[in-house]
Symmetry: C2
Subunit: 267 residues, 2 copies
Amino acid sequence: MAVPLRLVEIPADNHPLVTRLCRHVLLSDAEIARLRSGFERRLTIKNKRDVLLEGYKSHSLHVVVSGFAVRYKLLADGKRQVLSIILPGDIIGMPCAFFQPSIYSVTTLCEVTVDVVSLARFLELCREVPSLAVGMLWYSVHELATYGDHIIDVGRRSPLERIAHFLLEMHSRLRLAGCAAESSFEMPLSQEIIGDLLGLSAPHVNRMLHELKSERLISIFRRQVTFKDVEGLWLLAQFEPLPSPAIATIPSAGNGQMDRPRSSRLA
Amino acid sequence: MAVPLRLVEIPADNHPLVTRLCRHVLLSDAEIARLRSGFERRLTIKNKRDVLLEGYKSHSLHVVVSGFAVRYKLLADGKRQVLSIILPGDIIGMPCAFFQPSIYSVTTLCEVTVDVVSLARFLELCREVPSLAVGMLWYSVHELATYGDHIIDVGRRSPLERIAHFLLEMHSRLRLAGCAAESSFEMPLSQEIIGDLLGLSAPHVNRMLHELKSERLISIFRRQVTFKDVEGLWLLAQFEPLPSPAIATIPSAGNGQMDRPRSSRLA
DNA sequence: CGAAATTTTGATCACGTTCAACTTCAGTGG
DNA sequence: CCACTGAAGTTGAACGTGATCAAAATTTCG
């Protein structure tokens, strides 16, 4: 009685953004072609270059095809908060390029190649291709959920939990982007950046990483992180991957109101 | 030489969501009617009721017409992280209702009235009315920026800065929703909730609030917060309201690449 | 191979949590 | 109208955590 919940047609097109949008929305070959035709040029950006700087104007979206980057903000006292790690399929300039001047900065962590499309052109495309618009809505909702988890991390989790949670999330995102093995991955971030991401000092990140090692939950060699005890990590971090989308690609009517409880605790 | 930057037609329709969408996108009367016809019913929800519970399914969006609510998550150890404060014009179930089961909970802070629309119907509407889709994209981008600021608050600002920043942001959002005077507002949150929002303990929120008072930056009477020194608050919190959208409602082509610097510091 | 970036380590100390008690306030029913 | 009740705000003392700073060890990369 195995019921296939979602039968998603993965188009032959292997652009990471297309792959991502197609998780939520059906795109015909013609529509995909429309989208691709919107890309004005493909750029390769060297390591440690600013793609976007807070305070500068930018009128373009940069869709990451390969490579990694960080979105961050510098405070007046020199502190830095990293908002998110940008992976292939992510859009640099979401939300930055929607404001003038940009509200955050983005810097590459390695050589990055991007497809460039002007924001105006992109919004036009969204008007013309409804599936693209709805796909982008799903994209933002996902991003929102990711930011939400980040708030929880920084606001209420212990440093050890934070690191564990971060490693699991990073792995699962890298997995989706096709950049990670089943239980290990190449960490693209220095401990300093992890600190700035999670609101910790670099030395403390180091200590916590070592604690995870000595608890035999992970091991690290070079920049390879390997999960030794995924179960234990999930438990420690209370990791919950995003549940399936409420509406699958192949339409199927939801039937009613509230169902399945799961946990119900109150302060 | 006063140049009016944006001439936005505010339609006679006074639904707070419509007002909000029209900040970014032109909606004809017919399109507004379409949207309104999607609302299945109007509900009034009593104070301290759960609109959404983590772990339960929900297939509806609830658009807040009046009243306040909190979006939050409970952790296993009983800690709570508040993700955001929901004001009129906000959509409960963004992002929660897009996942099954819901990833966060939402509770009312007073009597709240909402317009209900099923997610499926709403996404259909987005397909049919391109301006609605693009408007919702802007909506999410705004929300994303708000979450981003929240991450910065919790991750890298001192408790005092956090509180100051929070008060300013709350005021400016209430202002847009038409629920605040020029330099004072009725705070809809207990200190405990503020603590859970900003990652602080309730007693510490209390102390910081008192410090702001003794610095003559604010005053509080009952639940009225009054800014005594907006300048000073902005400075302390390094508050920066969201810059104008990169593309105004009335189309006007942006001309090029990067302009105006503003600050450029490096670690 | 040399220089720079990153990781590691240790010692000190300020900050913010925790917990508990007490006060004030708001809402309700007698 | 007042007494009663529970919620919210206020205060203090003690403690533990994680920041900070600096220096050394190691890795990475030009």
